[in-house]
Subunit: 142 residues, 2 copies
Amino acid sequence: MSTVLPTNRVDTIERLKSAGVTPTQQRVEIAQLLFARHQHVSAEQVLAMANAHSSVVSKATVYNTLGLFASKGLLREVIVDPTKVFYDSNTSEHHHFYNVDSGELMDIQGESVQLADLPELPAGTQAEGVDVIIRIKQTPNS
Amino acid sequence: MSTVLPTNRVDTIERLKSAGVTPTQQRVEIAQLLFARHQHVSAEQVLAMANAHSSVVSKATVYNTLGLFASKGLLREVIVDPTKVFYDSNTSEHHHFYNVDSGELMDIQGESVQLADLPELPAGTQAEGVDVIIRIKQTPNS
DNA sequence: TTGGGTGCAAACTATTTGCATTCGA
DNA sequence: TCGAATGCAAATAGTTTGCACCCAA
């Protein structure tokens, strides 16, 4: 039942170092889980995953680590649900579907969504990122 | 210093009734504040505004009322900050700038942002809404 | 060694809920 | 009158913080 991780520890450590993150045991553990594949996880899920695997990460460290990874560009924060933050291990430019019924967050594949061009920004500001979220719901089966 | 409300109580009550909302004293009070002009407010701000004006609305009622208004289409919830929900009294189709430094939320005027077309939705789902948020930050004045 | 990292529990904050009281129709 | 709406306070849940201990460099 355990997930096979296509990324080995050495590569993960290298990736953390490149991002300027000291590769501690817990950070590597969390990174292994997250970078195994593109996924959307909450802090709670990361905590559960990490401790199912080998119980050595505290809640505080999970929050610290996710925040740190996000600030270093290793993860992308996705704000779609007021009750929790999602972290997306796919940091490339892309957008999301959010199923408001199931709470599920999905990548929108490819270039199917493109903004024509950015509107004029307010004076003294610069763009930091563009989030496009298409909220979807289950079609009621008539 | 007090804001002049361009909407009178009678009109506000009419608007609530049209939306299927029983116009109670507190709901009218809150509606008057919100519909006076297009704005982005948090529950906390509404509570403060309502009680500065005439102290007769409780915290629970503010949350109940904002949630109700949103579900009836009188307000639009905007999720951009994990720490709180914004309510937008402009319910027409439009998108937002979010200044991550100041926490300020602004409408993007006009048609300057348009999605080419919606991508194919996951099977069994239908679109409920599209949110475009351009996160901006203060340009560091070199 | 030694300063950054971690764990634990307590603190915080936005929001929700239960229940008794009050109000709109 | 009577069910819906409100107020209050307590409960909840996600996240943050303070501080002592530990480990990566």
